[in-house]
Point group: C2
Chain length 225, copies 2
DNA sequence: CCATGTGAAAGCGTTCACAGCG
DNA sequence: CGCTGTGAACGCTTTCACATGG
């Protein structure tokens, strides 16, 4: 069991390593990995130490070996089927986002309440009617879902997804979801992110922003998005 | 200066209060606010105590008064001009997202490298060529920007935005940005969020997921994006 | 009596500093 | 000698528990 904060940084390291491999870089020291990932070098070493000892003292980490280990620990050696609910602007952006499929997350089913969209193909997914949600998700054995609906229906959709067997949810709707404790939920709330920026911008206008006092990214969320 | 963790929760409380006001609820106790926001009641009281003493013992908080105070402290009593760079799927979703303008964040200028998009209207923003970025941002006095470009150009765009006077950035591109320390940066990285879910899903498959051990939202990010 | 506001305690996450090893 | 791996220190966040006050 890795600390959650570490889990959030591992994909970042993975991204850096993948980039370095494309440039045929064979080893990487914690300092460089830290710089490229925008974190402290001690942090990198501590994070990686949770995975085991894959570095060589005096040298650094074998780029390819470390990439494999990160990939394995994150469970990225397998592919995941993902459902998407809501084919509005955001939903369509998500279904077409290559960053998901590149990493083995395949949106295989989409759902929308608009009859005009049902039956059409969106990226790699066919649009289904909302009424089919439970059946399709259960039949396909889908465990992960993206919610990109209006806030008002998000809780109901989440309940139905969970009832159909989904165990991990990524919610883009600006609302709090109440779910059983064994369900993994992550929230991407763009309006909140902007409001946080607004707060610091507001402080700055008031002339009170301490130097370096940014509500910066890598500690707060991953942007969390 | 509020703690950053508190700043991230205030917009949530604001949302709850706004909902309650629509239902003409006059007061709200910390327990109820906590439940509706998905956090601990002590957390709510501690957070609100940073703003001052706006509650009444034995009663709770005056919904309207508290909403005003939150709004004021977050700097939401003023409007902000926002620039958007990148009008791909995600950029178009962002420019049409009502959650921003509802809260006083107005996307007044958009930029894209595709000549076919330049000159067209996207939501409330006119699409400009990339070459105009510096000039338009400086002329309009824009302090906040959304980056929804491919990862490869995000750093260059960020540098140009900062050079033009932008001081707060919300980056959706899956890459780390290096910026001067006085610039506020927040990251929304959907691929990372999915990979975090993948990790816990992977654990679950391995039968090692502790009960209640979800990589849940409201502490880690936020969800954050 | 009930809910706020707050010290104090507990829990995490980050950073430091250095021993240890290739 | 250089960089990893890690115990220990530090700081931030959350939670508890209760005194305080309408």
């Amino acid at each position: 069991m890795l600390p959650e904060a570490t889990v959030r940084r591992l994909p970042l390291y993975l991204r850096v390593l993948t980039g370095a491999l494309e440039e045929h870089q064979v080893t990487m020291a914690s300092d460089e990995l830290a710089n490229r990932a925008g974190v402290n070098a001690a942090q990198v070493r501590k994070d990686l130490s949770y995975l085991g000892s894959y570095g060589t003292r005096g040298v650094g980490y074998d780029t390819e070996l470390l990439r494999q280990q990160l990939s394995r620990q994150l469970g990225l050696t397998q592919d995941y089927k993902v459902a998407l609910v809501g084919l509005g602007n955001l939903g369509q952006a998500l279904v077409n986002y290559r960053g998901f499929s590149q990493r083995g997350f395949h949106v295989v089913a989409a759902f929308d309440s608009d009859p005009a969209k049902v039956g059409r193909q969106f990226g790699s997914a066919t649009a289904h009617a909302m009424s089919e949600l439970g059946e399709v998700v259960a039949r396909e054995g889908i465990a992960m879902a993206l919610i990109a609906t209006p806030a008002g229906v998000a809780q109901d959709i989440a309940d139905r997804l969970v009832a159909a067997g989904v165990t991990s949810l990524l919610n883009f709707a600006p609302t709090v979801l109440n779910l059983p404790p064994d369900i993994c939920l992550r929230q991407v709330d763009m309006a909140i992110e902007l409001q946080v920026l607004g707060y610091y911008e507001h402080l700055r206008a008031a002339g009170t922003l301490a130097e370096g006092g940014n509500g910066a990214s890598r500690r707060g969320q991953a942007a969390r998005a």
